[in-house]
Amino acid sequence: MAEIKNYTINLGPQHPAAHGVMRLVLELDGEVVQRADPHIGLLHRATEKLAESKTYIQSLPYMDRLDYVSMMCNEHAYCLAVEKLLGIEVPVRAQYIRVMFAEITRLLNHLFWVGAHGNDCGSSTILLYTMREREDLFDMYEAVSGARMHAAYFRPGGVYRDLPDSMPQYQVNKIRNARAIKELNSSRQGSLLDFIDDFTQRFPTLLSEYHTLLTDNRIWKQRTVGIGVVTAERALNLGMTGPLLRGCGVAWDLRKKQPYDVYDRMDFDIPVGKTGDCYDRYLVRMEELKQSNRIVKQCVDWLRSNPGPVITDNHKVAPPAREGMKSNMEELIHHFKIFTEGFHVPEGEAYAAVEHPKGEFGIYFVSDGANKPYRMKIRAPGFAHLSTMNELARGHMLADAVAIIGTLDIVFGEIDR
């Protein structure tokens, strides 16, 4: 009989199942993983160091480029941290807009996750379905900020501008004829809020399509049930947050436990799992899609009937209106100062965290009173989650390692920073 030795394989840095640039060194006994050593940092851009040489507004767009699947949630934590240091109040309407877009972002993230995870585990169909819905959500981003992904929409003190009254329309082109375009535009006749409202009504039906595709699917269950099991106590010690922690049965959600903005006025439920395996985490995320949709609907209803300012009137922090800037000397000075020198943040330190779709995303600032942060630390949920890879994958088959990478919901923009 031949002698069997442990086998070391190298997965990545370019591999479709690695969800970005990750090099995973796997030590195998036959097909069983003995040790998984993720090598990260291939996408390291030193965002935190760059922020030290930029003003607080200049480094805000970097936030979009961290977790590039849930852009506005990153901005949310950044704005909350700056606002905490400055001690400024945000108008209620801006808080509602932020909550609405944070939940739209959660839909974006979870839809991409369920599509990509399904694709990893052998169901490419789901990916096409979820991409279709993401298209509408990107249109919402575009309508409000002009960018489909890297929005830079949340600002310290509020949001960049109010919601638009009309939606951009599709034009007839070589690919689609007039009838198809008319159908595409049918939900885009009113304001952005009408479009979002229409989406929230369509979405539950679409969600049930995904459930039909996956939830009771025999192959899907074989790939996910009992894979990557982690106990609640261990999950806490490993620094797991978000759906991974809730998948183990810990009802911990910052939106409920330490509410920020207007989450305390929202009516929604926190789903929890039981066994802490990949399948439970899948179910938790699917239920979160439904709950996010509920929150978006509540925000739409409130925003329709409550007009008001969307950014603080403190012009040391937020730029004045264009009209005021053109006609008023003081406003002009404010505008000039804010876009050249930026605003000064009092000396101190602050940590602000949000319930990001992936877990707890936090920003820690050390300020020495300058117009730039002295030190910024980004607490990325994916970083802590990927560090658990070795423990989760040990004893599983090589193919399950892919399912575990999928369930961790990692994006290298935020892990490598």
Partner: protein, 202 residues
Amino acid sequence: MIAFAVDPEALKNTIAAALGGKARRVDVKLGEVTVEVAAADYLAAAQILHDEQGCRFEQLIDLCGVDYSTHGDGRWEGARFCVVSHLLSVSLNQRVRLKVFASDDDLPVVTSVTGVWASANWYEREAFDLFGIVFEGHNDLRRILTDYGFIGHPFRKDFPLSGHVEMRYDAEQQRVIYQPVTIEPREITPRIIREDNYGGLH
């Protein structure tokens, strides 16, 4: 402002009582409790914060290094390197920030807390990589974010933003080579610290 189940002032008193003489400083600012401990007491303090009734910080949410050498444009007095951890108690819904300064500026050494919280593993590797802080008792202290064979600790304040080397493909040698950087850091907006009450904002 973020609401907590436990009043920060009450938490401050609980922590001060639990740590006793181990805490150098416990204070509340902006609703956040900060504890500073001496490097020698760091591990013991971490264990107390993890175990003690009324603390029960089961989670190490974040750990990072800070280089204070140019803080306040050189007005900083005290040790240069600090390790800042953010702890979270899921059972009691409370947070605390734990700070420890490394006593030696040239070879900063801090005890590792991987035995208390497993999540510290990668965070300590990161702080070692970026700041050169050595974590005593960490069993796998490798670089994590920088390139294989990287020299220096890039997040130290004396490390230039543009770095020291750049990479390019050399057509003659037909391989990727490293060479000294050809760009210079360009800072459009100067860094300014204003006097107190400038503009009446704070």
